[in-house]
């Protein structure tokens, strides 16, 4: 992705996070905890498990539907980060050639199952992370982390990073455009020019930090960034969390998919 694309992509995700749906209104702590539990459960499945992962798709699908997050947007982002995992995973079918099952007389090696497992886990974990931020504004996530015990210095770092991310990206874009307007054919994209661009951006950033510090002092800053206890867990939050945990346990520890399959099989036999 070019710089512009990344900038707009980031902006889009950021704006999505400020929507006002039921999912967005849940307390950030609820969503952070639910997401982490979801992630740990998904990756706790054994190497070859494929079918038991199916019910877990309920979570991203529900969140995308209720949270009004565009499906194509998420899919594209998942795809963009998939090369590394696919590259590592594809070795599984190549190297693990012991036959696992036979379908229509064609032996399917165990490696394909572990590869598929990796891919499914990949989709589930990546979409869960993206959907967390898509349904919870970044400041919300930070407040959740703060309430969950993360040191305040780290929280302030996250706050400032987020706040000035777009400002700095815009500044970088201006510098890049200034470069592009004078670089004609060669595009001037070599390392020396890059170092100069980044160096300039760095110096401007340092100056900006000084001005920010001044503004902070002017409003009484004395070393600690104060925050208010802002969010409350409501009954809805607890209900959501309890339901999520219950479902996750059921899907993880009972052969849910198989039972359904067997039942249906039984019905037709």
């Amino acid at each position: 992705m070019t710089f512009d694309e990344k900038y707009f992509d980031l902006g889009r995700m950021d704006r999505l996070s400020y929507q006002e749906t039921w999912v967005h209104r849940l307390d950030p702590r609820t969503k952070v905890i639910a997401t982490m539990l979801f992630l740990i459960t998904v990756i706790s499945f054994p190497k070859y498990e494929v079918v038991a992962l199916a019910p877990f798709f309920l979570f991203p699908v529900l969140v995308m539907t209720i949270g009004e997050i565009p499906v194509r947007f998420i899919m594209k982002k998942v795809l963009v980060v998939s090369p590394f995992v696919i590259f590592i995973g594809i070795f599984n079918p190549l190297l693990d050639t012991g036959t696992a099952i036979i379908i229509s007389g064609i032996p399917i090696s165990a490696g394909w199952f572990s590869f598929l497992s990796i891919l499914l886990k990949f989709f589930l974990t990546i979409s869960a992370a993206l959907l967390l931020i898509a349904t919870t504004s970044f400041p919300g996530v930070c407040h959740a982390l703060r309430r969950l015990g993360v040191p305040s210095l780290i929280i302030s770092q996250l706050f400032f990073l987020y706040r000035y991310l777009f400002v700095l990206m815009e500044e970088a874009m201006r510098i890049i455009r200034a470069r592009d307007m004078r670089a004609f054919d060669r595009r001037g994209t070599d390392i020396k020019v890059f170092a100069r661009l980044v160096g300039t951006l760095f110096l401007r950033t340092v100056d900006r930090a000084e001005r920010i510090y001044y503004a902070m002092l002017a409003r009484g800053f004395q070393g600690d960034i104060p925050t208010l206890k802002k969010s409350h867990m409501t009954a809805t939050d607890f209900a959501f969390l309890a339901t999520t945990i219950a479902l996750i346990c059921v899907f993880r520890f009972f052969p849910f998919t198989e039972e359904i399959g067997r039942t249906v099989q039984g019905l037709f036999i």
Binding site: T2, F3, Y7, L10, M36, L39, I43, P55, F57, L58, L62, M64, T65, K77, V81, I88, G89, F91, G98, A100, I101, S104, G105, S114, I118, T125, A129, L132, I133, F138, P151, L153, I154, Q157, L158, F160, L161, L165, L168, E171, A172, T189, D190, K192, F194, A195, R196, V198, G199, L203, T205, A209, Y213, G223, F256, T257, E259, I260, G261, Q265
Partner: protein, 346 residues
């Protein structure tokens, strides 16, 4: 390269998270005590700066491919180990949330791989002693390249170890290492050159900036090599301990390992499972003409391609597949239902 959730096991993931969290806590404590207040907005905004700088591509001479800045090393040089580690951690957190670079569980691994090594290992014990207060661009260039390369090698190697210990990938150690290390050697060289170029440029234009930042670092921030080595060893022991605990409570992994070694499978259960379910499938044949399981065919087929995969029975797999299809179908129906309801409301 960033570690991914899908390749990770809970044991390795949580161990690395614990490690990174511990270091982050330590860095916060150290900074909070001694830091100059003006560092707080500076650190934050520099995080945004590195983030933005990482988005700018440059062409690598000779190859035409594009590269970009990593950040751990240059942050360590500018801010010192503790602040650089925290800034790096915050950058990686934002990346894992907004861009899903790797995943949230793998974030612990990534913070360790891309933050710990450059900030707490390479910078204090190699870069700083080598460069010291020197302003020589040549020395800075050489030191940067070597240090960035080393940091990336350590990071890449850690990814290999973390993947291997998680056991989800089949890649053997040797092949994986051969894939990761050379690529990161190349990336490291380029990033090292870029890092040095930026430092040298800044120094040539406004030297007092780097000096004043170095001056406002917490005093007594000298790290002892011994402490770092102890930390590393502790992490390895912890990982090993957690893993062995996991192995003992998850016999399938152990079984599989045993089978790979002895070539024998636990015959009893799968045998019992296969026969009755195959019968059921037989009765299905009319329903699903594709499946050509016939009792007569099963025996020779079973010999020809003996399943070395424990716990997977053909019958279970079929009902599993059917179940999966139904479950996924139900999920889609639920989603469509919700959409319809909402459309009706609006």
């Amino acid at each position: 390269m960033h570690m991914a959730d899908a390749l990770l096991s809970p044991a390795v993931g949580t161990t690395l998270w614990a490690g990174s969290a511990a270091v982050a806590g330590y860095a916060s404590k150290k900074l909070k005590r001694d830091i100059d207040d003006r560092m707080i907005p500076l650190m934050g905004v520099l995080g945004a700066f590195i983030f933005a700088a990482q988005m700018i591509n440059f062409t690598i001479p000779g190859t035409g491919s594009s590269g970009h800045l990593g950040g751990g090393m240059i942050l360590a040089i500018i801010l010192g180990p503790h602040a650089a580690f925290l800034v790096m951690a915050s950058i990686l957190t934002v990346q894992s949330l907004f861009f899903a670079d790797g995943g949230l569980l793998a974030l612990g691994c990534n913070i360790w791989n891309l933050g710990f090594y450059p900030c707490y290992f390479i910078y204090p014990f190699i870069y700083k002693p080598w460069v010291g207060d020197s302003k020589s661009p040549g020395r800075i260039l050489l030191a940067s390249v070597v240090c960035v390369v080393l940091a990336l090698q350590l990071g890449a190697f850690s990814v290999v170890l973390q993947t291997l210990l998680s056991g989800k990938s089949e890649l053997p150690f040797g092949t994986f290492v051969l894939l990761m290390q050379p690529i990161h050697l190349a990336i490291g060289c380029v990033e090292g050159v870029v890092t040095a170029a930026i430092i040298n440029y800044v120094r040539s234009v406004r030297p007092e900036i780097l000096e004043s930042m170095a001056a406002s670092r917490p005093l007594g921030a000298a790290l002892s090599l011994k402490k770092i080595m102890v930390t590393l060893v502790a992490l390895v022991v912890l990982t090993g301990g957690v893993l062995s605990w996991f192995a003992s409570t998850h016999p399938d992994g152990l079984e599989w390992a045993i089978e790979k070694v002895t070539g024998q499978s636990e015959l009893s259960e799968p045998e019992q499972g296969i026969v009755p379910t195959l019968k059921g499938i037989q009765e299905w044949t009319a329903f699903l003409p594709d499946y050509s399981f016939k009792p007569g065919d099963v025996e020779p087929q079973k010999e020809a391609a003996s399943p070395t995969w424990p716990g997977i029975e053909a019958g279970t797999s079929v009902s599993g597949i059917i179940g999966a299809a139904i479950v996924l179908g139900m999920i889609i129906l639920i989603a469509m239902g919700i959409r319809c309801i909402r459309r009706r409301d609006t």
